[in-house]
C-alpha cells in the first residue's frame, strides 16, 4: 500500500532527473538558511526554502511533490538574489512544481486558470462591466489580441496541444 510506504526514501534516479533540469547549482547549497530568512511566504506559512532544497538534494521526492507549501512561494526571487552560493532557487522550485503537477498535484483553482488560458488565450475573462468602461475610455471593446483574432487563438491552442498542457489536468488524464 502506497499510503503505508515510508516517504523519506531517497530516489537517486529522480534526483538525477531534477539535476538534469535545474543544473548543478542545486548541489552547491550549504544550508546557511539565508533563503528561509529572506522569504516573505515563510514569515506567514510553514514553507521553509532551505528544507525544500535539502530534501531535493537527497532526492526525497515523496516529501516534496505532494506538499501544499510548495505552492506558497510567490517566486519573488529575494532568496535567489541573496543566496551566497548562487543556487538557482526559483528555477528549482519551478522544476519541482512542474514535477508535482505531473504527479497529479494541481489545485482546482489552478486548473481553472489553465482552462481559461487554453479557451481564451488570456488569463482574465472578458466582463461586461470592463467592456463598457473600455468604450467610455475611447478604447476598442476588445484589445487587439487573440480576443479579436480567431486564427491567433487557434495558434495558441495548437501550441498548448503540442506541449500537452491540458493533459496535466486531472479529468483529462
Amino acid at each position: 500500500m502506497a499510503s503505508e510506504a515510508p516517504l523519506n526514501v531517497p530516489d537517486p534516479v529522480w534526483k538525477q532527473t531534477l539535476l538534469d533540469q535545474v543544473g548543478e547549482t542545486l548541489n552547491l547549497c550549504f544550508q546557511c538558511g539565508t533563503c528561509t530568512s529572506s522569504c516573505p511566504s515563510g514569515r506567514l506559512t510553514a514553507f521553509r526554502t532551505r528544507q525544500v532544497i535539502r530534501k531535493a538534494q537527497f532526492g526525497l521526492k515523496d516529501l516534496i511533490l505532494p506538499s501544499d507549501d510548495l505552492w506558497t512561494c510567490t517566486t519573488c526571487f529575494t532568496c535567489y538574489e541573496r543566496c551566497p552560493r548562487g543556487v538557482e532557487i526559483v528555477g528549482i522550485i519551478t522544476a519541482l512544481r512542474n514535477m508535482a503537477v505531473r504527479a497529479g498535484y494541481m489545485s482546482e483553482s489552478h486548473q481553472k486558470l489553465v482552462r481559461t488560458i487554453y479557451d481564451t488565450g488570456h488569463m482574465i475573462p472578458v466582463s461586461e462591466k470592463v467592456t463598457a468602461l473600455r468604450k467610455q475610455l475611447g478604447l476598442p471593446e476588445r484589445p487587439p489580441t487573440v480576443l479579436v483574432d480567431e486564427e491567433a487563438r487557434k495558434q495558441v491552442k495548437f501550441i498548448l496541444d503540442q506541449t500537452g498542457l491540458m493533459r496535466l489536468l486531472k479529468e483529462d488524464k
Binding site: 526571487f77 538574489e81 486558470l113 503540442q162
Partner: protein, 285 residues
C-alpha cells in the same frame, strides 16, 4: 521612437484605465505605439511556468516572434509580462536546444524566433532610459504635491543578474520617475517585499497572499503615504482588491505609474479609468 505595445491581460480586461493612460502618456511623449495584433497572455509566469515550463516558453516565444515579424521591440506595462517575455527571450538566446524545440512548433504556425531578435522593455525603464527626465518634465502641467509609496514588485528588477536595470535591494529608478511629478516617494519598511500575489499564490492560497499584502499595507499606512504607485497591474489588482477584502479602512488609492503620469500631464480623470478601482482614487489634489 516606435514600439510594439504588449497589453497583457489584467490591464485591458480588469483595469482598462491603465491601458488608456499608457496610450495617452506615450502619445504625449511622442512614442509611436504600434499594436501587437494577435498577441496572447504572456503567459503568466507564476502559474503557467510553474505548471509546465515548455508550454510557458513556447507561448511566450510566439509573442516574441509576432514582434520580431514587425521588426519592433516589445513594450510591456506589467512586471509579469515583462518577466515572462524577458526571461523567455533570454533562455532562447542562451539555450540552442530550447530554441530548436520551440521553433519546431512555431514553424507549424508559420512563425519563427531568432535569438536576440526582439528586445523586451518595461514602461518604467523605457521612460527612464530612452525618453529621459527632460522630455518627461516638458509634458507635465500639474505638480502632484503628495507623499506616495512606490511598490516595485518582484519581476521588474529581478532576477537582477539578467535584468541589470537597478539595484534589486535598494532601487531608485521608479522613485525618481515618481518624484518628477512633484510627489514625494516616502520610505517604508519592507518596501522591496512582494505584494503577495505572485507565483500562483493569489489563486491557490488567497489568504496567504492577502496576509502578505496586509503586512505591506500596514507599513505603507504608517509611512503616511497617500497613494501606492505600482508598475504592474497584478500588484495593482492585489493592493486594490485586498484593501476591500481585508476591510480595515486603509483607503489608500492604488495607481499605476502611467495613471500618475496621466494626472501630472493634466489628462482628464475620466480617461484614467479610476472607476474600475475597488479602493476609490481620492487624492485631494
Amino acid at each position: 521612437m516606435e514600439v510594439a505595445f504588449f497589453v497583457g491581460c489584467i490591464a485591458p480586461l480588469r483595469y482598462p484605465g491603465i491601458e488608456s493612460a499608457t496610450r495617452a502618456v506615450l502619445d504625449r511623449l511622442d512614442v509611436d505605439v504600434r499594436e501587437l495584433e494577435g498577441a496572447s497572455c504572456c503567459p503568466a509566469p507564476g502559474v503557467t511556468r510553474s505548471f509546465d515550463s515548455t508550454s510557458w516558453l513556447t507561448v511566450a516565444a510566439r509573442n516574441l516572434a509576432l514582434a520580431e515579424r514587425k521588426g519592433l521591440d516589445i513594450l510591456t506595462i506589467c512586471n509579469g509580462c515583462f518577466g515572462s517575455l524577458f526571461e523567455a527571450a533570454y533562455i532562447l538566446g542562451e539555450q540552442p536546444e530550447q530554441l530548436r524545440r520551440v521553433n519546431a512548433i512555431l514553424e507549424k504556425i508559420g512563425l519563427a524566433y531568432t535569438p536576440h531578435g526582439v528586445e523586451v522593455r518595461h514602461f518604467a525603464e523605457y521612460l527612464s532610459k530612452d525618453v529621459g527626465d527632460a522630455a518627461i518634465r516638458r509634458t507635465f502641467k500639474k505638480k502632484l504635491d503628495i507623499p506616495v509609496a512606490v511598490h516595485y514588485g518582484c519581476h521588474f528588477l529581478k532576477p537582477s543578474k539578467i535584468k541589470q536595470l537597478d539595484d534589486p535591494e535598494h532601487p531608485t529608478m521608479v522613485d525618481k520617475l515618481v518624484e518628477l511629478t512633484g510627489a514625494k516617494s516616502v520610505q517604508y519598511k519592507d518596501k522591496e517585499m512582494c505584494c503577495g500575489a505572485g507565483g500562483g499564490v493569489r489563486a491557490r492560497h488567497p489568504e496567504t497572499a492577502r496576509a502578505m499584502t496586509k503586512a505591506k499595507l500596514e507599513e505603507i499606512r504608517a509611512s503616511g503615504a497617500k497613494a501606492i504607485i505600482d508598475v504592474c497591474p497584478f500588484c495593482h489588482l492585489q493592493y486594490d482588491s485586498a484593501q476591500k477584502e481585508i476591510g480595515e479602512g486603509y483607503d489608500i488609492p492604488v495607481l499605476h505609474l502611467a495613471q500618475l503620469y496621466g494626472l501630472a500631464m493634466g489628462i482628464d480623470h475620466k480617461l484614467l479609468g479610476f472607476e474600475a478601482h475597488a479602493t476609490p482614487v481620492k487624492l485631494g489634489l
